[in-house]
């Protein structure tokens, strides 16, 4: 260490700074750049799916409207659902995770930086893949859960469903790689002293979510694999005529799909648990209870999938079991809500935009939770299944549970990402517009649903009592869209004119606030030492960091280095040499795109070529790097 004592921080600058240019742009492995890409791409998908929703709402605004016909309507609501769930909610949270998890745990990158770049490219490629059929009227059109037999080749010929099946298989590669990366990063790369019971609650949430993905996603992938074998190659899994069973699809889908609701919801909850204490100016009440509730929700989420299927006729006893699990899961959510309320009551809450969005979340989510508890009653569920009541319910849960927290996070963390503050006035205005617009758009759907309006209809006759509710809904949707537009305006203004944020505009307690905004490529000039769950509120420790940086203690300036620690106690264990920019992740993603295009279009030669090139790219990826030759970690 003594050898590098002169100007270690300059050495950090020169070894971590990435050169400009197109090649670096494609080859970057910096978790912050990748995180921003995730955020921008996922937000773009949000806008696309939002425009689709507006078209749906215009079509439904008045009875017998003729804006879009049934064929296009089916594609639009399917794409809207698929995009919101798979291409917006999960990747958006992955974007925040990518940018902030390493910062919050005091690391210099994700555990596998190239795998991280690879996850992003696959996310982008599979998103484009899913949309590729739209110009040819061949986009997925059987709803986001794609039930067979409707989705079988017999009833939906053409490529529509194949874009869905292969697209989601393709996306699963990205999501799985991302989840594994998060888990290993969180288990192994925490700053020394950050034992598992000092981890920020957002990190707990990302950890739980990632584990849930590792075990839930294979069910969706299997479902899609079987579906494509059946559609493309004449296998039989779902058709009763040849010994199959259509319900198999439903089970496989919801074994994934229900945990997925929590996969979306838990990081959002982690965001709330991060923001509430900062704006209450006190540590969260019941840290341990909140962390355990997070984990418990993730586990219980696997026990409730059947509640999506109460209407299909299953044995009573198993329905009873799953109804009980559906009620049980309300308990850990309740614990978290009480912890937030107690924190707010015992602190001195400052009503700035991020906290407003959090409060909006709590209100909306409680309404969604109430209608959710109603579904746990089997007879009620059987009455209103597939009506607009359900559409209202899951938008309260998903919009409330994911979109409001995501916008809270945007207002909270953007200053760290760009270095500039957002306008409070615009922020508050956009919140109120979104909140009012949201309720106006979705509350009337409860009513039209109870009055019998089914979901997924492209139009309806006048005189059924649904007209007013539908018109209100459409007006609300536009108010909501205007609110979102205001946020975009705010971000654009802030990028150009926003006042400088400084390192710590909110007085945050976690480590991302200990470093400049935007952070330097190496994140931390010196490995921070952590002694509590609120490291940035421990002034003495942070001053100690600064002193050590000056004395080149634990600066780790030999190339891309970061510290590995032990899994539970977070004790310093090893110095890792992280890879630098590499084109292989991008190349591998391209070759896999060729593979999936070949599978989609029934071109076995193309698919094989893609597969072989992918193996070649993998080999190239793992060729030894020059700096490995004298290291322990050579591949």
């Amino acid at each position: 260490m003594a050898a590098i004592a002169e100007q270690p921080v300059e050495r950090l600058e020169s070894s971590w700074e990435e050169p400009g240019g197109l090649v670096t742009w494609l080859a970057t492995v910096d978790h912050k750049r990748i995180g921003v890409r995730y955020l921008v791409t996922a937000f773009a998908f949000f806008v696309v799916a939002g425009v689709e929703a507006l078209v749906l709402r215009v079509q439904l605004a008045v009875p017998r409207n003729g804006l879009v016909g049934p064929a296009l309507y089916d594609q639009l609501f399917t794409l809207h659902g698929v995009t919101m769930i798979f291409l917006f909610a999960t990747p958006m949270l992955a974007g925040f995770g990518n940018f902030f998890v390493p910062l919050m745990i005091g690391a210099r990158d994700m555990a596998f930086p190239r795998l991280n770049a690879f996850s992003y490219w696959i996310f982008l490629a599979s998103g484009l893949f899913i949309y590729a059929g739209l110009p040819f009227s061949a986009a997925p059109n059987d709803g986001w859960f794609n039930y067979v037999p409707l989705a079988s080749a017999e009833y939906t010929p053409g490529l529509n469903i194949d874009f869905y099946g292969f697209g989601l298989l393709f996306l699963a590669v990205s999501t799985t790689a991302g989840a594994v990366n998060f888990i290993v990063t969180i288990l192994k790369l925490r700053a020394p002293g950050m034992s598992i019971n000092r981890m920020p609650l957002f990190v707990w949430a990302v950890l739980t979510t990632s584990f849930a993905l590792v075990f839930a996603l294979p069910s969706l992938s299997t479902a899609n694999l079987l579906l494509e074998l059946e559609r493309k190659h004449g296998f039989h899994f779902f058709d009763a005529g040849a010994g199959g069973d259509a319900l198999l699809w439903q089970h496989l889908f919801w074994i994934f799909g229900h945990p997925d609701v929590y996969i979306i919801f838990l990081p959002a909850v982690g965001i709330v648990s991060t923001i509430v204490p900062v704006f209450s100016r006190r540590p969260i009440v019941g840290y341990t209870a909140v962390a355990l509730s997070t984990v418990l929700t993730g586990i219980l989420g696997f026990g409730v999938w059947v509640h999506h299927m109460f209407a299909v006729g299953l044995p009573q006893i198993s329905m009873g079991f799953f109804a009980a699990a559906s009620l049980l899961i309300a308990i850990p959510s309740g614990v978290q809500v009480f912890a937030w309320i107690a924190t707010l009551l015992r602190g001195r809450p400052v009503l700035q935009t991020p906290l407003l969005f959090v409060l909006g979340f709590v209100v909306v989510f409680v309404v969604g939770g109430l209608t959710g508890v109603m579904f746990a009653s089997v007879p009620f569920d059987q009455q209103i299944t597939d009506s607009y009541f359900v559409v209202a319910h899951f938008h309260y849960v998903l919009f409330g549970g994911a979109v409001f927290p995501i916008f809270a996070a945007l207002h909270f963390w953007l200053p760290k990402i760009t270095g500039r503050l957002l306008s409070e006035r615009l922020g508050k205005a956009s919140f109120w517009l979104m909140f009012a617009g949201f309720n106006l758009a979705f509350f009337p759907m409860h009513v039209s649903g109870l009055l019998g309006m089914p979901r997924r209809v492209y139009t309806y006759p006048a005189g059924l009592g649904w007209d007013a509710a539908n018109l209100l809904s459409t007006v609300g949707a536009f108010a909501l869209a205007l609110g979102i537009l205001l946020v975009v305006v705010n971000v654009a203004w802030s990028r150009k004119r926003g006042p400088w944020a400084g390192a710590d505009p909110w007085g945050g307690d976690s480590l991302e606030w200990a470093i400049p905004s935007p952070p330097r490529p190496y994140n931390f000039p010196v490995v921070p030492l952590v002694r509590s769950a609120h490291p940035n509120w421990d002034r003495a420790d942070r001053e100690e960091d600064a002193r050590r940086a000056g004395q080149a203690e634990l600066v780790l300036a030999e190339g891309h280095q970061t510290l590995a620690t032990t899994v539970l106690d977070g004790e310093a264990d090893d110095v890792l040499h992280m890879p630098e920019e590499s084109l292989w992740p991008f190349v591998l993603a391209l070759t896999l795109s060729v593979l999936f295009a070949g599978l989609l279009l029934d071109l076995p030669l193309v698919a094989t070529a893609g597969g072989v090139m992918a193996l070649g790219a993998l080999a190239g990826w793992h060729l030894p790097r020059a700096e490995d030759e004298d290291e322990d970690e050579a591949w």
Partner: protein, 196 residues
Amino acid sequence: MVSSPVLSVPRSASTAWWGMLLLVATEAALFAVLIASYFYLRFHADGGWPPEGIGDPKLVRASLMTSVLLASSVPMALAEAGIARGDRRRLRAGLAASFGLGALFLGLQALEYREQLRELRPQTDAYGSLVYTITGAHAAHVALGLALLAWLQLRAWLGAYGPRRHVAVQVIALYWHFVTLASTVVFATVYLSPRV
């Protein structure tokens, strides 16, 4: 205090090992879902299992295949233990033996398919689809494993691994053991369960 952790030998498993463990976990979940689908369709089937006109799966070759693949874990473990002590020859020999047994497994699998296809095709019915999907998924994992073993062998010849630098060996060994163990579950499901 921790000013030169570089010098100490790490106490806990490497990031790569954790990464592979999680990959194996998600692959195990994939096989679990495939096998659950098998039993789901079996218990909802109206007729017999296997359906009328299709004989019970034959055990002799399949037991041999499973034993061969399981056995291939032993040289893999020896190879890993060898390189941990710096014995490069043992590493190469162990890798070669595992590769040979794995290739033998794939050869037997091909023979097995040739015979099975005479009375049962994946398109015949749900039973056939399940049998070929499950064994096919497993065989694909073996094939990928063989490619990884070949890679290790190549790098081993180039002298890439030593007592303190053989993470790749550890990680691929973990994958290989998973694939060999999975073959017992596949065997129990596809070959044994129809008889009970």
